[in-house]
Assembly symmetry: C2
Homo-oligomer: 173 residues x 2
């Protein structure tokens, strides 16, 4: 299996508006309700766009450990998504099937195209990628393989069943 090279120490000397992504705190896990959270519970994201003061779009530096997925397979109604593979190897799943993406490869997911996607790390090494998404208002998320839908509110995202009933996280967690 292909080994990912050991990264050198993070560069802590860069000053705004530049930075080394490895100096930004990573958030671990997902807000998905049970039982859909398992594949993302080890996912790590650093919010680079926020750290750089960007408002119009988000940029995350994402680390997927072995066996972890980027998300449940989904598509967005209003927002575009872009990913760039920095390191390691990820399997991209969409309606056409599976493709292996190595470092330097990209993918794009235009808003409103009902072809769900996610990335799965099936290697023994961490995989690292950048994800970019805009912040167009009124966006929703549709999940291709599970009974879930994301509904956006001013204060965040609610996950509901496809018929609109909420996930009762008290019962299910």
């Amino acid at each position: 299996m292909k080994q990912v090279e050991e990264l050198p120490m993070a560069n802590t000397k860069l000053r705004s508006p530049a930075l080394d992504p490895r100096t930004i705190e990573m958030h671990v896990g997902t807000t998905y309700p049970s039982p859909h959270d398992g594949i993302c519970k080890n996912r790590k994201k650093a919010r680079l766009g926020d750290a750089l003061g960007l408002n119009n779009f988000g940029v995350n530096y994402v680390c997927l450990p072995s066996g972890t997925a980027s998300s449940q397979r989904h598509w967005h109604t209003k927002q575009d998504e872009f990913i760039y593979i920095i390191e390691g190897e990820l399997v991209l799943v969409t309606d056409i099937g599976e493709q292996v993406l190595g470092a330097g490869m990209v993918a794009g997911f235009p808003a409103g195209q009902p072809d769900g996607h996610h990335l799965i790390n099936r290697t023994d090494c961490d995989a690292i990628y950048l994800e970019v998404g805009d912040r167009t208002a009124g966006d929703g998320g549709e999940y291709s393989d599970i009974d879930m839908r994301a509904v956006r509110h001013n204060d965040g995202i609610n996950f509901v069943h496809k018929d609109g009933t909420p996930y009762d996280t008290k019962d299910e967690k």
Copy 2:
């Protein structure tokens, strides 16, 4: 001087929504009027976002040969910008001075902050980076070091002097 590794052959087997950036046609040069075009005339850009069908933001895969700059030093009034260095080494120039950015480093330029930026390749090797910018309406560009301003119209960009008079490209080219 640090040498950039030879890239393997481009991966032409990936299918939409994935691709290898090296399979996308690169556009060479700039639409800057003379005498401001010289530093960018060898700049090469592949429009990844367009190739992937994205509309809400643009993503370019940019190659700066030795001695080339990303742009004249500028800032945007409405649109955010983000860059990720893929390969090589670039000097980022902003109001705080110069910083050397190697592979894996990022920078972000929030809309409306009057601190112009550009990237200069002072090495003997090509440098490659990703640039992302949203498409918020009504954007303009202000140039920090030269008598120029970018005014956006429905059909593109006009470059004018700071007092609003147009560049007469017939006379100057």
